[in-house]
């Protein structure tokens, strides 16, 4: 059994993980573990931009961190914690300027300053961008700086389980994907930056790798999951493949049309129109489709043709490429067929109510980015706030841990006992998978995706959610007897994808369970049977725990603040 020892371990090499590692590597020996090479991380797929109240444009010159915080809290339907939102928005201009100083090739205004565009739910043009490939530009910048600073990477290492002694994290069990060898990374600090878990749904914009490995591992280790019922459905995903069509397309002036050639957003958000927040636009599109005003009962049109070839080529080149490659249409000449699809997990690993941001109830374990629910997005995330969250809290966590100092580990006997148990536990599991006679992973994965798509989607009801819970519980049961050959270990993606399913099947169940519990409509969680927000009973975070007797739900107060609770209208 091979054991690697580090001062801190960062799992995941997207923006959150890289930014944390850059900070920590200044002083400590840090390992970044990632199941893909860092530049393959899903942060690179983010298109539209990163929010910061720089006030670089004429229309945005009065913008402030305060207004950014207000829009974020209002957009979250008041479920975001106001202290952490305020912190993020104050850090935002700094983090964007820092990115620029690291070399990020932002698009520029005539003044030479970083360009900013309007985005949904934002009072000012606040979203800084690099054409429509902002995530790619930021991810590559951080990776470049990691190369410069000689950060230590373990590429293509898969996180299997967390290892703990009593209530303290002591490391992780991982698989070296190339050889299939199980490797222990021992450390008193583990930072999970493993991204979202959108692949629990079938219709998702997420990369295939977004399977919530950190979230699943934390949940198995007894850490609760927070606000998982809040799933962001991006209003405009390309019909067919559900590849993301950025909100920037509407930010640049794109229109949404139904089959009657009506800009239907006027019925639900007469002021903000297409730039209402994502939950509202997604519901409007879903309604058009359900009421027969869509095309082929499946999509509406996102029309950019009036923007002209030049603007499309300059501001939205990636979108044009995606449309040509994956749908065979050129948005210069034709509208884009779009439908809502799972896009972002507002929920994730719960962090403490008191204490520092990103800190989980398991000592030494931290969560950052989409993996975590800390919670800056509450019930609905604004576009441009997720890239921001990753780097603000990646940097924050790095600084926090350096300030705290190195962790003390339990005695070597205890450590080795826990590591041995994790190791043999997984070997036993692999043997079991090899000899099982149940379903193959693909069957369970497909069923799970369909259950979530159809029963835990944009609109929800008690009956459908109850069915979803029952079906997912049955699938969890079936997963115990899942069969997959495990004797060949080198680059065996069959095994790896089954380990991913092991994580997703739990998270899917939590999502449905929390959605069933929340009998109100708030942000992205829209219950047809409870169509209004109910602050009296539900202005609280949900926490779902794994117990011997199944799932258990508790609540956690929301950190309120100066922004007074109002009805949310756009």
């Amino acid at each position: 059994m091979k054991v690697e020892k580090f001062d801190a371990i960062v799992v995941g090499a997207g923006l959150s993980g890289l930014r944390a590692a850059l900070e920590l590597s200044k002083k400590w020996k840090v390992a970044v573990i990632s199941k893909v090479h860092p530049v393959r991380s899903h942060s690179g797929a983010a298109q539209g931009g990163i929010n910061a109240s720089l006030g670089n444009t004429l229309e945005g010159k009065d913008d402030t961190a305060e207004r950014h915080a207000y829009d974020t809290v209002y957009g979250s339907d008041y479920l975001a914690d106001q202290d952490v939102v305020q912190f993020m928005c104050e850090e935002a201009p700094k983090i964007v300027i820092e990115f620029e100083s690291m070399g990020t090739p932002f698009s520029r205004l005539d003044s030479g300053l970083i360009a900013q565009r309007p985005f949904g739910g934002a009072g000012y043009p606040r979203t800084c961008y690099a054409a429509d490939k902002t995530g790619h530009a930021l991810l590559h910048t951080l990776y470049e700086q990691c190369i410069r600073k000689e950060v230590i990477f373990f590429d293509e290492f898969f996180l299997i389980d967390l290892i703990k002694v009593d209530d303290q994290i002591t490391g992780i069990l991982s698989m070296d994907m190339a050889t299939g060898e199980l490797i222990i990374f021992r450390s008193g600090y583990v930072i999970l930056a493993t991204g979202g878990f959108g692949r629990t749904y079938k219709r998702s914009t997420n990369a295939i790798i977004n399977t919530g490995d950190g979230v699943g591992a934390a949940f198995r280790a007894g850490v609760p999951m927070q606000d998982c019922e809040f799933v962001q459905f991006h209003p405009t995903t390309l019909y067919g493949t559900n590849i993301l069509i950025t909100e920037g397309a509407r930010g640049e002036g794109g229109y949404l049309f139904n089959n009657k050639k009506e800009r239907f957003m006027k019925n639900v958000a007469s002021k903000a129109m297409e730039l209402a927040p994502r939950d509202i636009v997604a519901r409007a599109i879903e309604t058009e489709i359900q009421e027969g005003r869509g095309f082929e009962n499946a999509y509406v049109h996102l029309d950019l043709t009036h923007l002209g070839a030049e603007r499309i080529k300059e501001r939205l080149p990636g979108i044009r490429e995606i449309c040509i490659d994956f749908a065979g249409i050129d948005p210069i000449n034709e509208p884009i067929p779009v439908q809502p699809g799972q896009h972002y997990s507002m929920g994730g690993i719960a962090t403490k109510f008191d204490g520092r941001y990103c800190e989980t109830p398991l000592a030494g374990l931290y969560a950052v980015g989409e993996t975590a629910s800390i919670s800056v997005h509450g019930a609905n995330r604004l576009g441009g706030n997720s890239l921001l969250e990753t780097s603000v809290f990646g940097r924050y966590i790095g600084r926090l841990l350096l300030e705290k100092g190195l962790a003390e580990l339990p005695s070597i006997d205890k450590l080795e006992k826990a590591e041995e148990a994790a190791f043999t536990g997984i070997e036993d599991l692999f043997n079991q998978w090899n000899t099982n006679s149940g379903k193959r992973p693909v069957e369970i994965r497909d069923e799970m995706g369909i259950v979530l798509d159809t029963k835990v989607g944009v609109f929800r009801t008690e009956i459908a959610l109850q069915e979803a819970c029952d079906q997912l519980a049955a699938l969890q049961k079936e997963f115990e007897n899942v069969q997959i050959p495990t004797s060949e270990r080198e680059f065996n993606f069959g095994i790896l994808r089954n380990l991913e399913l092991r994580n997703m099947i739990d998270i899917a169940a939590v999502t449905a369970y929390a959605a069933l519990w929340r009998k109100e409509s708030r942000g992205a969680h829209s219950r047809i049977d409870y169509p209004t927000r109910n602050d009296k009973e539900y202005l609280v975070h949900s926490l779902v725990f794994k117990t011997e007797d199944g799932l258990m739900l508790k609540t956690k107060p929301v950190k309120l603040g100066k922004f007074e609770i109002k009805e949310r209208v756009y």
């Binding site: 300027i97 820092e98 620029e100 520029r108 790619h136 490429e321 060949e488 065996n492 069959g494």
Partner: protein, 254 residues
């Protein structure tokens, strides 16, 4: 009856001889090569190894050779493979005996050329990353988070935009020079070097250093101007043109 598409796929386990295996995948409208590979992995043989991540042509993971043309599996439509016009003047890639390949019927999938094969379609990209690091592709200034940001004209920012779009997929390593010279930095690293040389924000000192790096014997001087890199690049980065521009504008002796 569901129509099937036949595949002939390169397979190899570490320390074993390579072989080709045949698979049949039910055709589906809009199916990409990547989806077909997943079908095979999910339904027919869970040990088939290939890299993937975003499935939207932005992460650069799934580079393979389809019918002897290097391309991204996620960006290639199954229905289009036989009809697609192939880029002109591609080198020949040989992985083994394919004399029984029924070219009209079977889609042939092989790993990226000029890299060591680890398993099936997964190649060892370590040299690729090593050469990428060699050109020191980053800004070297101290980070600052204090306003205002440093300004850059819109034109200057745009002038490197196409270079920034590089997704480090490795397809341009199909270059014939990479086939013969294992130390050739390759089109990716050189284009990345140029992305920083041409960035108006870089310090003169670091620019000089990168120029030095890209002009080493196995860098720009080794490029033989085949421009295969430009033709296979899925993102319009045009590495060959970047190398040409280094030659024209940033000669070492300047």
């Amino acid at each position: 009856m569901v129509e099937v598409q036949k595949f002939l796929i390169f397979r190899k386990r570490p320390d074993e001889k390579a072989r080709y295996e045949r698979y049949e995948v039910p055709k589906k409208k809009g199916m990409t090569i990547l989806e077909a590979l997943f079908y095979i992995q999910d339904q027919l043989d869970s040990t088939l190894a290939f890299r993937y991540s975003c499935r939207g042509a932005i992460c650069g993971s799934c580079s393979v050779v389809v019918d002897k043309v290097p391309q991204l599996a996620c960006k290639t439509q199954v229905s289009n493979v036989k009809a697609a016009k192939k880029p002109p003047k591609l080198p020949e890639f040989n992985y083994g005996d394919i004399s029984d390949w029924i070219q009209e019927e079977e889609i042939l999938i092989e790993p990226l050329p000029n890299m060591e094969i680890i398993k099936d379609l997964v190649v060892d990209m370590n040299p690729f990353w090593e050469f990428y690091r060699k050109v020191e592709p980053y800004l070297e200034s101290e980070w600052s988070d204090e306003a205002p940001e440093s300004a850059q004209s819109s034109e200057d920012a745009k002038s490197i935009e196409h270079l920034v779009y590089c997704i480090l997929c490795g397809l341009c390593w199909s270059c014939p020079v990479n086939a013969t010279n294992k130390n050739y930095l390759g089109p990716t690293a050189l284009a990345k070097g140029y992305r920083f040389i041409a960035d108006t924000r870089i310090s003169d000192k670091h620019r000089e250093k990168i120029i030095e790096k890209v002009w080493q014997e196995n860098g720009v001087p080794s490029c033989e101007k085949y421009f295969v890199c430009n033709r296979v690049c899925p993102k319009g980065v045009k590495p060959g043109t970047a190398i040409k521009q280094i030659r024209e504008k940033w000669s070492k002796n300047e």
